[in-house]
Symmetry: D2
Amino acid sequence: MIKAKVIGAGGYGGVGITELLLGHSQADLACLVDVADIGAPISKLYPHLIGFCDMPIVGADDPQAQEPADVVFMATPDGIGMQLAPAELAAGAKVIDYSGDFRFNSPESYAEYATRIGRDPRHASPELLPQSVYGLAELHRPELNSKTRIVGNPGCFAVSCILGLAPAVKHRLIRLNSIICDCKTGVSGAGKKPAAGFHYPARYDHMNVYKLAGHQHVCEIERELGLLAGDSLQIAFTAQVVPVCRGIMSSLYGELADGISPADVADAYREFYREQRFVRLFDRDADVGSVHVRGTNYCNLIVDMDARTNKLRVIAHIDNLVKGQAGSALQNMNLLFGLPETTGLDQPSRYP
Amino acid sequence: MIKAKVIGAGGYGGVGITELLLGHSQADLACLVDVADIGAPISKLYPHLIGFCDMPIVGADDPQAQEPADVVFMATPDGIGMQLAPAELAAGAKVIDYSGDFRFNSPESYAEYATRIGRDPRHASPELLPQSVYGLAELHRPELNSKTRIVGNPGCFAVSCILGLAPAVKHRLIRLNSIICDCKTGVSGAGKKPAAGFHYPARYDHMNVYKLAGHQHVCEIERELGLLAGDSLQIAFTAQVVPVCRGIMSSLYGELADGISPADVADAYREFYREQRFVRLFDRDADVGSVHVRGTNYCNLIVDMDARTNKLRVIAHIDNLVKGQAGSALQNMNLLFGLPETTGLDQPSRYP
Amino acid sequence: MIKAKVIGAGGYGGVGITELLLGHSQADLACLVDVADIGAPISKLYPHLIGFCDMPIVGADDPQAQEPADVVFMATPDGIGMQLAPAELAAGAKVIDYSGDFRFNSPESYAEYATRIGRDPRHASPELLPQSVYGLAELHRPELNSKTRIVGNPGCFAVSCILGLAPAVKHRLIRLNSIICDCKTGVSGAGKKPAAGFHYPARYDHMNVYKLAGHQHVCEIERELGLLAGDSLQIAFTAQVVPVCRGIMSSLYGELADGISPADVADAYREFYREQRFVRLFDRDADVGSVHVRGTNYCNLIVDMDARTNKLRVIAHIDNLVKGQAGSALQNMNLLFGLPETTGLDQPSRYP
Amino acid sequence: MIKAKVIGAGGYGGVGITELLLGHSQADLACLVDVADIGAPISKLYPHLIGFCDMPIVGADDPQAQEPADVVFMATPDGIGMQLAPAELAAGAKVIDYSGDFRFNSPESYAEYATRIGRDPRHASPELLPQSVYGLAELHRPELNSKTRIVGNPGCFAVSCILGLAPAVKHRLIRLNSIICDCKTGVSGAGKKPAAGFHYPARYDHMNVYKLAGHQHVCEIERELGLLAGDSLQIAFTAQVVPVCRGIMSSLYGELADGISPADVADAYREFYREQRFVRLFDRDADVGSVHVRGTNYCNLIVDMDARTNKLRVIAHIDNLVKGQAGSALQNMNLLFGLPETTGLDQPSRYP
């Protein structure tokens, strides 16, 4: 059995991977680490886990936290993983980090990201960057294997935008610099910490844009799509919050290149995702939305062309906490340990 | 493998047992039957099932629907199961019926129920009633075994009230005729069919009482509690809807009998539920609510005494679609086939 | 024009009276006082007020806050009003306080309240208590007049329970010590400050009980009903939160006294509320709920008898922020200034 | 007093104008007409109106419905207004129609619209079209005056898109054929009739796109923007539903023309809306969203430029049932009767 440690276990990202690991046939939870609620069973924080997981949360300096693990999930904000990763790797663990720390595999690309989001451009462990892999299996599966030691798990918005646009930019179905990503997220994307904007009375009947000046996921979207296209590109991106708990709905637009037919588009997407278990394709008549991926690792793509205005339009749906976070992390773990990619991710969710 | 047929597969009760059977290691879905959407894959009605279950819905007269099954789940309204059960039983299947048709195991008690809810007091298959078992395992486990052929799966409100009050009435901790059940349900309890009262704009910020003149679950609560108490009793019952999707929160009150101490109450509940995997007990300081049982087969009971007013107060939480419906049905199936009671019901839900 | 000052203007209680005063033909907002956001226009905190009220919030020591007002609304927590009231009264203002500070008009009754909720039993301005009036006009209208200087505005749950039970206890339709108040509130009742239990992802699909050990509104309910009954009484009270924004639904139960008929009940309620513009009576068949009082000063009462169990059952609906707070405060102001009681409260709300 | 008749009074559009007229100082409700619920007081359908408006709904052939009115609000679907308008006009009333029937003031433009949405291209009262005015006061105020007899009240999405883009297209800040309108609506936009997609359990945690093949509001947006631009144009438009009750949030994008500076954009919008009481302008740092226009006739515009990608980005917020429907209708009535435009629309809403 794979021994898994979760750092940042008390947040939504931590409980998400905890839930998934509890249902995984080849992995065991070894340790739950956090800086708060130390000593409390995880089921005290999350009473739905009573009887399923009553393991206490321990501090980073607890002996239990020092014991070697096979994989460490760092459900921590930017700046933590880059400090903790070297010791974990030295102890023999593989590291899957949720933050932006390992999404860029060169000091230069990291510095550009950090600068854009107002952080120190110097990475604390720059020597690790070349080994890190951007953890979106649909693009980087060959690099996600038993030799991989560090994964930069992707941002939730980024997953939806990259999966929605990858075939189009790879095959240059659209003009690279015409891309608009109009993205709506559920409130769980903001994490567990209460704040004025997520207080129920202020949030329940409310939708709004935020971070118009720039969202931190833009960098990785541009980088990954640029790598696919073989050219740099820039996207217009709008982040919005709507009162659902889980779910991202990204409406993605691009101007079609000359002579692109509906069949070209359909073929490109079908081909690109032929072997991808967690991507489903739909056409414009499909009646699917965010709830149909809720609680699962699927990305549902509605691929459409607006002939009147010569635009590609793709609607991407994911669960921000699963395919957008813990689910991708588990999918990456499966790949790193040579397991079937769907292990622990192969159950439908509950509806309604 | 147990071959399972679901009748009424297209409703919330049908999709609920379908989801659970997909995750059950010892059962296979054999057939999905309904009167509407015939020919459509269940995943067309419920796109979250795409790739997990694309089995088409068939009509009752379809050859596939005629093939013998080991168990038939009748996710059908009152009056259907009593007509279909004889043929299914004759073909060798066990029948688990969701409606009130088999919750009363004598023609007399059925007639009383039917009369109170305004239905024909004559049962279509009265000869089957004595064999039927009220499907609440926490009370009737000894009768739920490999010889059982018919189960009357309990009503959702009834599950919460009976589990919340059973120890109290059995041990006469409270005066039998002082019971008040103040019950709130999520909207999914009303089923899949759209109606004015469940239209999102009318429902989203709204709570209200309904059926003040009498709710159909009162009969079975009074009957089951009366059997436990060894005496007849009558309850005051108020049904309410609040804008959650899943969940029942029943606040249950009774006047304490003379000389009952907090320890008496705590002991009685602890003892009664000692071996019951799906009932969790809490005291008044616990911070648990409906979301902590959402998607699971658990019943969470907060057991409290109000010394000032000499009252027992129990708050019962269940998921109306799981422990209140499909989960209990699966639990009953497990018992009827000699499987561990928790098979297919042993995974935590997702939070938030 | 009545010059009105609001202390605690930045909270939900403050913005509630601000909204109402903006629509009041005989009153003007003179000053908005708070301890936070000083200098910011109220419309910065509450952008729905842009263009309607852009008055800045000032601190208590601001010269503007020192200017005399005709009425001061203290939308402040327990313990503030009792300190500030003397100066306001001395300056000639009438005081309407939202907290428990002036709901009890003797040092003894205040001390009992304070003790039960764990506060210092000594009132900071005990000499004012005999002049204070409990601000529920339906019970105390004769005392709410131009001579009244201090009003203790009632608690939100208390309004619903007292209005729902007043005719029954006054006419002894029920046994006094049999009362159960099962109360559900919307989330806005918790105020504006973010907290874990009101964080949207934790709250949106969740219902739960809280403060089972005792809620601060119980004292005033028992006191006011006791005064009406001419005898002391004790109630069982359960506070619950459900995911609506505004609204209280209180299900109120009592054992009927001997020989009480449905007509007795109906007559008592009709008579009691004959002249009360803000109370509407309904019978069990009415399809009304919380949304039908949302945004208004109405209390809707469904008055019902359960003959089987010999119980009175009343369902009381109010908007916790209007009749349960700012609306009652404005109603009280109208009475204190000799205005028609409905001034500024006579517009329907928006639906849906 | 203006005597107002409402046809289609029982729907959300009807109750919306009813609520507004009840608060209007210069107009009286004369008659509520509908095809269903005849004889029932409007307050039976909408209990929040009890005591405010208990007028019964009458059929179109009721004598009361025949009495002359000064203004008729036709809160009816496409195809009704064009049949009823001639008689109302002949009787001396002005007509404000909610549907697409009078949004196009020539038979040719109407035919194009009707064809695109699959209706008969022949208008039932083509002679009236040249007199009709598109009822968006911010664009057509000079034509909305005492001589105006017919108003085609605008579509809800159209209001948000046109107001959001009008200054940009008028001043050619953007390339005309680069426009993308990514629009999200609350559920009330679908009206009062229950349907599977708006059933609470299916809707509450769900967001989705719909009508990708073409939405009926596109025609009027293209027409009105084209008239402003002095050239025809085509827009890409995506309709989405999110689980709020009221509100439209439209994210509007266009490629900036050469040499357009942020100041050019800001100036154009400020100038265009200088005298417009119901449009508020914000920059990218503003924390405003749908709830801040809820229940009011305001349109809030966040005007932003994305220099990196050379795009104009405008976020438009309205209440779909007020500025998107009944509020605009009342604003139009005010103009047609020479009243101040804000009469009956000058109160803030309630928050939270």
